[in-house]
């Protein structure tokens, strides 16, 4: 129980350790854009963290870069383009849908379809196995036994 409540507390406290520096924004929209961008960009040093989560030097520099570009009035798309021009699609936690990333997006769906298809095939085969197949002779014997049972 203690561990469970600790987990809950840590989960609730998540935003507390995501923002490291204090940033001053003129408009709330800019702050929103900043928050969403830093949670969408990957820190390439510690590959399974966003630049919001990471304390690596590169993550700090990239957060500064995002902040400065927003201050210059650049749009979210412009900042995302800036990052992908330098670091490639891998820098995005949500890569754009294109030919190169098609398998990434459609792969899970493909596997789901294969799974569903297999389940369907197995169910069909099971059904045909269960079907009662008694010869007329066996059928007669069965009813004879059943009748006998009734008489006892």
């Amino acid at each position: 129980m203690k561990i469970f409540s600790l987990c809950i507390l840590l989960w609730v406290a998540y935003p507390a350790w995501s923002a490291v520096e204090y940033r001053d924004f003129k408009q709330p929209e800019q702050e929103q854009a900043y928050q969403s961008l830093i949670t969408e960009l990957r820190c390439l040093v510690c590959q399974n963290q966003t630049i919001a989560d990471s304390n690596a030097d590169l993550a700090k520099d990239l957060r500064r870069q995002v902040y400065e570009m927003l201050q210059q009035g650049q749009s979210k798309q412009q900042i995302v383009d800036f990052m992908t021009e330098r670091y490639g699609d891998f820098v995005l936690y949500k890569p754009a849908f294109k030919l190169k990333t098609g398998l990434l997006w459609l792969g899970p769906l493909l596997f789901l379809c294969i799974g569903l298809f297999s389940v369907l095939m197995i169910i069909r085969r099971k059904k045909s196995v269960i079907k009662p197949t008694l010869s007329p002779d066996q059928q007669n014997r069965l009813s004879a036994i059943l009748e006998k049972g009734d008489q006892d």
Partner: protein, 177 residues
């Protein structure tokens, strides 16, 4: 017969994919900068900070840009190899002293030897971002027209010079400007 072979085929396919996946290095991210012009910079030179160097100063030469720092442990691994390579005088080697203290950078070169023709200082890491630097050391091969032709992430290994760098450099040096 096929019924029994199918799981085997599936298993082998999966095993092959997993084996390839194990061999891949997740730290090696293909750079989108290959075949693009080297991003511009004008950075102070480490040994004489009042002078600056720009990539356009290297126009007409095939050159190497090696990103290093005195705090970088893998750079120490790579260093002897780079010194050896510099002695062959195949091409100019420019160092990008990335997010380092000038004093620490100079001391490092004095202690371990200086393979660089020139080192420039990128103290706040902005040029590093322009070059998509994420794991020091990194090495770029830039051609006579100032286009990035190859990028190596992490320390250059003993075999890499003969296998990758020298053939590529020789090929690039025969290209017209």
């Amino acid at each position: 017969m096929f019924r029994y072979l199918l799981p085997l085929i599936l298993f082998i396919t999966l095993a092959v994919f997993l084996a390839i996946g194990l061999k891949l290095n997740p730290k090696e991210i293909p750079s989108p900068l290959i075949d693009k012009p080297a991003p511009a910079f004008a950075l102070p030179i480490l040994s004489s900070p009042d002078k600056t160097l720009k990539p356009s100063d290297m126009q007409g030469k095939v050159w190497l840009l090696n990103v290093w720092a005195s705090w970088c442990v893998s750079c120490r691994d790579e260093h002897p190899l780079l010194l050896q390579f510099a002695q062959q005088h195949v091409l100019p080697i420019i160092g990008l002293n990335y997010k380092d203290e000038p004093a620490a950078g100079n001391a490092w070169l004095q202690k371990l030897g200086n393979p660089y023709d020139i080192s420039v200082m990128d103290q706040d890491g902005r040029t590093g971002i322009d070059y998509g630097v994420y794991g020091v050391p990194e090495t770029f091969v830039i051609d006579k027209r100032g286009v990035i032709r190859y990028k190596h992430t992490g320390p250059v290994g003993p075999g890499d010079v003969e296998r990758i760098f020298l053939p590529l450099i020789q090929q690039l040096q025969t290209e017209a400007v």
